[in-house]
Subunit: 226 residues, 2 copies
DNA sequence: GTATTATGAATGAACG
DNA sequence: CGTTCATTCATAATAC
């Protein structure tokens, strides 16, 4: 079956294209969809494999002794050595001209680009390089979000000056949790980020685990200490 | 053994060639050889997975006889001890297993998750990690909405082919991602996915892919790819 | 090369 | 339900 799958890939860029991205001509033998699926499949196996290996180690360890050092067991980086950097997902990069236009439109107030507007903008920008409506949409989303965050950040900084115990609610966001952290000069979370599930995201969470003494299923770690 | 798997693969990445270097045009394609390697590597994962599942089953069986369960193995004493450090991640993130199950259910047609259904699904998924009914509900909402929007987008793209006026490539503008088939979501095994919830891995495997030879969803022989 | 930053994209949750 | 927001992830760009 495995063989059956890949064998029939259409060769030639017409299925989805290829095309020119940033001046580079790409001819594809697989569609983006196919690539994505492949990537996912491999990723799934990578994950499963790691999980199983971890589990096996844990069980083995338990068998060996009282399982005292379980604490660091599951984090062994060596086991996670399975390389799962499968691809290089290509990503749109606006050209200078496009950026300029986008910025101009953004500054023009209308914070809501609306679908029709997006279409127009996309049409215009496509004169200056490859771009899609999704790209434009994302750009505005990100632009607005980051602009907002920056403001908020500044406000906070001003209000806070030195005191760490500051009352933290300069803006009173939405509802839900007060948990509000923002830090981004730490994007080096590559490998050592571990899993973590929030434990109280919702109170509706009923454990129907038949097992007695059900424990927090997790094995947690600091998901985001950065 | 495991490491031998996927390490050096590069699908569609620059490692494969492609691009313009010093004015020389390179066409990037994947050779049959490379495809074969990929195939092989996927098969390797399939085999490893199967073996590990078997191993786990055997060991688990032993454990059961002894009346010992794995359930609480993964409560990291360190983490719980330093409880303050762990700031709850405010947003639920499905584990790989959960995602697989969700996708499967989603694909099964029933577009109406109904209250009762949600409850059931949540119950099942909670075996694989923290989750609430709200999470499930939201997931289905989002899944459908985005699936729909994508379709609409594609349709639009297909329908219109005259706006593009010139240079560059007047074709597929959406270089972004697919999501039309079934098993593609987590684009990469995020570190969080590496976490596994104790006892249910092997059963979770069922929903992912019980058979090594059946990687299946990959390449549905093209078809509707634009 | 490696590390850091900037930013496009993905997605859970909330709003109307 | 469709749209929008907020947060996070991955990677292009850049600094070191």
């Amino acid at each position: 079956i495995i063989n059956g799958g890949i064998g029939g890939v259409s060769v030639g860029g017409d299925a989805n294209g290829g095309g020119i991205i940033n001046g580079v001509l790409y001819v594809k033998v697989m569609t983006d969809e196919q690539l994505e699926i492949l990537r996912t499949q491999i990723a799934v196996y990578a994950v499963i494999t790691e999980q199983l290996v971890e589990m096996h180690k844990a069980i083995t360890a338990q068998q060996d002794l009282a399982g005292v050092r379980l604490g660091n067991l599951y984090c062994d980086p060596l086991v996670t050595a399975v390389g799962h950097k499968i691809t290089a997902r290509q990503r749109w990069t606006p050209t200078a001209v496009q950026l300029q236009i986008l910025e101009r439109i953004f500054d023009q107030g209308t914070g809501t680009p609306s679908k029709q507007k997006i279409k127009e903008i996309t049409a215009e920008l496509s004169q200056h390089g490859q771009i899609s409506e999704t790209n434009v949409y994302n750009w505005f989303q990100n632009r607005r979000a980051r602009s907002k965050r920056k403001q908020l950040n500044n406000a906070q900084n001003n209000a806070e000056s030195e005191v760490e115990t500051d009352a933290e609610s300069p803006k009173d966001k939405k509802i839900t949790r007060p948990e509000n952290f923002q830090a981004q000069h730490n994007s080096a979370p590559r490998a050592e980020d571990l899993c973590f599930q929030s434990q109280e995201i919702s109170s509706g969470m009923q454990s129907i685990d038949p097992q007695p003494g059900k424990i927090e299923p997790i094995f947690a770690s600091d998901g985001n200490v950065k």
